[in-house]
């Protein structure tokens, strides 16, 4: 399988605090990788670095064989292929649900409105929100908003989807609908790197689970390996705390 994106020995400091201490990850086409680890272990930072929302201090990010740390690379062009969904949804409050979904394809990709609109409506249909396309995001529940945010990213037809704890800000009763959507996407072959605290979800959908501890990858393997036979003491301690 071909590698879509990889981090190679990535280091990132904020001041003297080294948040990522030599991270290497590969993501293959259609692969679903879950990133687990305690709060502050660097999950969000890693995802933001992969999306070039943060610059890295050392190492390299390679997308389809091309180094993204090259100064000649335009980050805005790269981000069309690597989409990120945030914990806090970050929907645009001044745009309708439909316009939220259409903004990227129409403005960044310059695609024709009609075509994009049809696709956007299909996506909204898929998450059961087509009737609410013309409403503003603050009229929707948190779970609905987050599903719109995911669909907004999908509308860009990204090569890889990064998800940063997309259920952490949700009421527990709304977590399920978002995880269902992600499970659906995973079955459909979307390449995803998912930072999450939902261990059951990770066990069910991940091809591979990576445990991040203090900015380092301590352990990585299939869900069975990580959850049932953790080799590292830190992994075991973390898992016993969350379960």
């Amino acid at each position: 399988m071909s590698t879509v994106i990889s981090a190679q020995n990535v280091r990132k400091r904020f001041g003297d605090h080294e948040v990522l201490r030599g991270i290497s990850v590969d993501l293959a086409e259609h692969e679903v990788v879950c990133l687990i680890g305690a709060s502050g272990s660097g999950k969000s930072t890693l995802l933001r670095c992969l999306n070039l929302l943060e610059t890295i201090d050392e190492g390299d990010i390679v997308f389809r064989g091309q180094s993204l740390t090259d100064a000649r690379i335009d980050p805005n062009l790269v981000r069309r292929h690597i989409s990120i969904v945030f914990q806090a949804f970050n929907l645009f409050p001044h745009l309708s649900v439909l316009d939220n979904v259409m903004l990227g394809p129409v403005r960044a990709l310059g695609r024709p409105r009609d075509e994009v609109k049809a696709e956007a409506m299909q996506l909204l249909e898929r998450i059961g929100l087509a009737q609410r396309a013309l409403e503003f995001p603050d009229r929707l529940s948190g779970g609905q908003q987050q599903r719109v945010a995911i669909v907004r990213s999908l509308a860009m037809k990204p090569d890889v989807l990064l998800l940063d704890e997309v259920t952490s800000a949700l009421d527990p009763t709304l977590v399920g609908e978002v995880l269902d959507l992600l499970t659906d996407l995973a079955r459909g072959g979307t390449t995803m790197l998912i930072a999450t605290h939902e261990m059951n979800f990770a066990r069910n959908v991940a091809d591979r689970v990576i445990f991040l501890h203090d900015g380092e990858i301590v352990e990585s393997g299939t869900p069975q390996q990580i959850f049932d036979q953790p080799r590292d003491a830190a992994t075991a301690a973390f898992l016993s705390r969350v379960n």
Binding site: R48, N51, L53, P75, N76, L77, R79, R80, S83, I84, F86, A88, N90, L91, F92, P93, H94, L95, S96, D99, L103, G104, R107, A108, L109, L134, E135, F136, D138, R139, A149, R152, S153, M156
Partner: protein
């Protein structure tokens, strides 16, 4: 509001207005002041003008205030936005301009506008620097208003842009929008909603400060009232000018409040966009 409350508030308003009027009416020299500031005959002449006595129609002169305001308002909105944008830009190449924009806003917010008016209106022609020194007084007056008010408005814009959460910028960028698109499609539309009230305040000030340009010999409403006052020893012209300014600023304030309320209702109702 209930019926009783409506009656009570009308009564109390009437009472207070009545008291204030009564106070001024009964003041020891009240009649005199009424003659100088509220003389009906002078009021009429001030409105219509009297060419045979070289008296201006303040209403006509007020047109100058209005078009100056409208022209300057547009220029200030554009120029102020440019300043704010420079100030918030993170591009290394623009660093000198960023500093320049910060100094500019500090300086021109700090100098009384009348001094800028003198500097531009008398200083620039005095330089005899060719074309730029040979403009009309009204051009210098407009330049002054634009120079000063752009500094105020740039700060308003900047506060508005800063009020848009960083997550919005990240979301826009993660969709591959360029910096210009992020500004235009995501930051500005949200910032503008937040800055309409402070912008409106600055525009009301701008409107009123058009009354200062008479200093350069431009005959606008305030200057016309001044001419009337010195020729007829009656200051009713100032009252006329004041009423004309109010006639312009009050509807503007009401209209903007209406827009804000409408926008809020629309968003709460979540109706069709």
């Amino acid at each position: 509001m209930g019926r009783r409350a409506a009656v009570a508030s009308s009564l109390s308003s009437a009472l207070i207005v009545g008291l204030v009027v009564w106070f001024f009416w009964r003041a020891p020299n009240g009649a005199n002041v009424r003659h100088f500031f509220l003389d009906p005959h002078s009021f009429w002449i001030n409105l219509t003008g009297d060419p045979s006595r070289s008296l201006f129609s303040i209403l006509r002169c007020f047109e100058t205030n209005v078009w100056m305001f409208m022209l300057c308002e547009v220029l200030v909105l554009i120029f102020g936005l440019g300043l704010a944008w420079l100030r918030l830009s993170r591009t290394p190449i623009l660093a000198p301009l960023r500093v320049a924009s910060a100094i500019y806003t500090d300086v021109f917010r700090g100098i009384p506008i009348i001094l800028v008016l003198f500097a531009v209106g008398y200083g620039v022609p005095g330089m005899q620097a060719g074309w730029i020194s040979q403009r009309t007084p009204i051009t210098y007056a407009c330049a002054t208003l634009v120079i000063t008010y752009s500094a105020y408005v740039a700060e308003v814009y900047r506060a508005g842009m800063n009020s848009v959460p960083n997550g919005q910028v990240m979301a826009a960028k993660s969709l591959g929008l360029s910096d210009v698109q992020t500004m235009r499609r995501v930051i500005l539309p949200q910032a503008i909603r937040n800055v309409i009230p402070p912008l409106l305040n600055d525009f009301i000030s701008l409107q009123k400060d058009t009354a200062l340009v008479g200093t350069l010999g431009i005959v606008e409403a305030n200057q016309a009232a001044h001419v009337f006052g010195s020729m007829e020893f009656n200051y009713t012209g100032y009252t006329v000018a004041a009423l004309l300014f109010l006639a312009l600023t009050i509807p503007m304030t009401r209209y903007t409040d209406h827009l804000i309320a409408k926008d809020r209702r629309r968003r709460l109702a979540g109706g069709a966009a």
